[in-house]
């Protein structure tokens, strides 16, 4: 699973990364998180409000910070 967090270093991007890490730990998944900060790359995903969560090149969430439970549900869908 290829996980990316899009965001140019705002507080919410760090929160999203933390929640994603928590969700991964709970699921027992071992996946690296790639933090994308370049605005051109962020925009190329069609994301206009950061932070965003991208899994296998698909934008799952943008413009808000989902709770660890919500991230876990999204990731479990993907992994399952």
């Amino acid at each position: 699973m290829d996980i990316k967090i899009l965001g140019s270093g705002c507080a919410n991007c760090a929160n999203l990364e933390a929640n994603t890490n928590a969700a991964l730990a709970e699921l027992g998944l071992d996946a690296a998180i790639d933090h994308v900060r370049d605005p051109g790359q962020i925009a190329s995903y069609g994301v206009m409000r950061t932070p965003a969560l991208v899994v296998d090149d698909e934008v799952l969430v943008s413009g808000r910070v989902p709770s660890p439970d919500q991230v876990r549900a999204l990731l479990a869908d993907r992994a399952g």
Partner: protein, 347 residues
């Protein structure tokens, strides 16, 4: 999140009941605010509320409580309402609009779309790469911070609804006209070329879709916490300075020490580096107005503080070349100065 909403009568009762109780508590606190502090400082602590120190202290605690309550209530409501809107939807609404009408629509949408200037760069690329004209995109980016909820809350709390309505109308006019002017100036050559070359790929997710009421309420609570955490130091300093001016500067000081016709441009110039202090500047500005600074100058100062900010311009440098950033600042500043003179003349 995307699962179909399950009907839980208990959860619904808890949600709406909680909202009703919170609303009642909020209104109660707002009502007793002045009375409570007068009682505590005057009757309990035995202070002379007519004295300078007493008057300043009362002003400080009363204003702090009032603004904290207004911010909490209005940011929550605005965030919940805005959760039905998204930048994606706004862009879809703006695609294919003609300049003029499109600028006005962009300014209006800038007010209702959930947006933070930290996302200005990806949004700019997203709009322009999708074919929204440069001027219309700028109208959106100008209106969004200019007519923002923190500024509106503070204006409403400090000056009442008439001035707030005037400010909103003036902000929309500035954003519409400035964006239209930037469009007419044909400045596309000063946009970094990679913006036009950005390919938008992938399926768009609309963040406004699939949210439950509980999600929206949660977003509202988080937004209140985020904003309060960010602005409280500025707010306290601003209210503190305001309280000092309130108690110590003689009434009509600014009328007798008028800066003359240059007051408006000076106020606008001072507002540019003050962006991060937007929340703190408003209570200060209230005190200045109390001491006779004209309303047009006061409003121009506020607009400049929130609309023209050095940090945002530095951020926009990623996508805009300096001549375009300079034109943007010059056009917006001119618009704000004009609004300031107009209000000074008619109010």
């Amino acid at each position: 999140m995307t699962a179909p909403a399950v009907h839980h009568p208990g959860a619904a009762l808890r949600r709406w009941g909680g909202l009703a109780l919170t609303t009642v508590a909020w209104v109660g606190l707002y009502r007793v605010n002045l009375g409570f502090w007068e009682w505590l400082l005057g009757d309990v602590a035995g202070m002379d509320l007519e004295s300078r120190a007493g008057d300043s202290l009362l002003f400080f605690v009363y204003d702090t409580t009032k603004i904290a309550l207004l911010l909490t209530g209005i940011i929550f409501v605005v965030t919940v309402l805005r959760s039905f809107m998204s930048v994606e939807r706004t862009r879809a609404l703006l695609g294919g609009r003609r300049e003029g009408v499109g600028n006005a629509a962009a300014a209006g949408l800038g007010v209702v779309t959930p947006f933070c200037s930290c996302s200005a760069v990806p949004a700019f690329i997203g709009f322009v790469a999708a074919g929204v004209p440069l001027g219309i995109t700028m109208s959106f980016l100008i209106a969004s911070p200019l007519v923002n909820e923190v500024a509106i809350v503070l204006l409403f709390g400090l000056f009442g609804w008439e001035i707030t309505a005037l400010y909103i109308a003036a902000g929309l006019v500035v954003a519409t006209v400035a964006g239209y002017t930037i469009g007419r100036l044909r400045l596309e050559r000063w946009v970094e070329p990679f913006v036009f070359e950005t390919r938008l790929r992938g399926q768009l997710v609309d963040p406004a879709q699939g949210l439950t009421w509980d999600d929206r309420f949660q977003m509202g609570r988080e937004e209140v916490a985020t904003i309060l955490r960010k602005i409280w130091p500025y707010l306290l300093v601003g209210i503190g300075l305001g309280a000092l001016i309130h108690g110590w500067v003689p009434a009509d000081w600014f009328e007798t020490h008028a800066v003359g016709p240059l007051g408006v441009p000076i106020a606008v110039g001072l507002g540019v580096p003050l962006y991060s202090n937007a929340a703190g500047v408003m209570p200060l500005v209230e005190a200045l107005y109390d001491k006779g600074m004209p309303m047009g100058t006061v409003l121009a100062f506020m607009m400049s503080v929130v609309a023209l900010s050095l940090p945002e311009m530095i951020l926009l440098r990623r996508v805009l070349r300096p001549p375009l950033i300079a034109s943007f600042a010059a056009v917006v500043a001119t618009g704000i100065v004009a609004i300031g003179y107009l209000f000074n003349a008619v109010l």
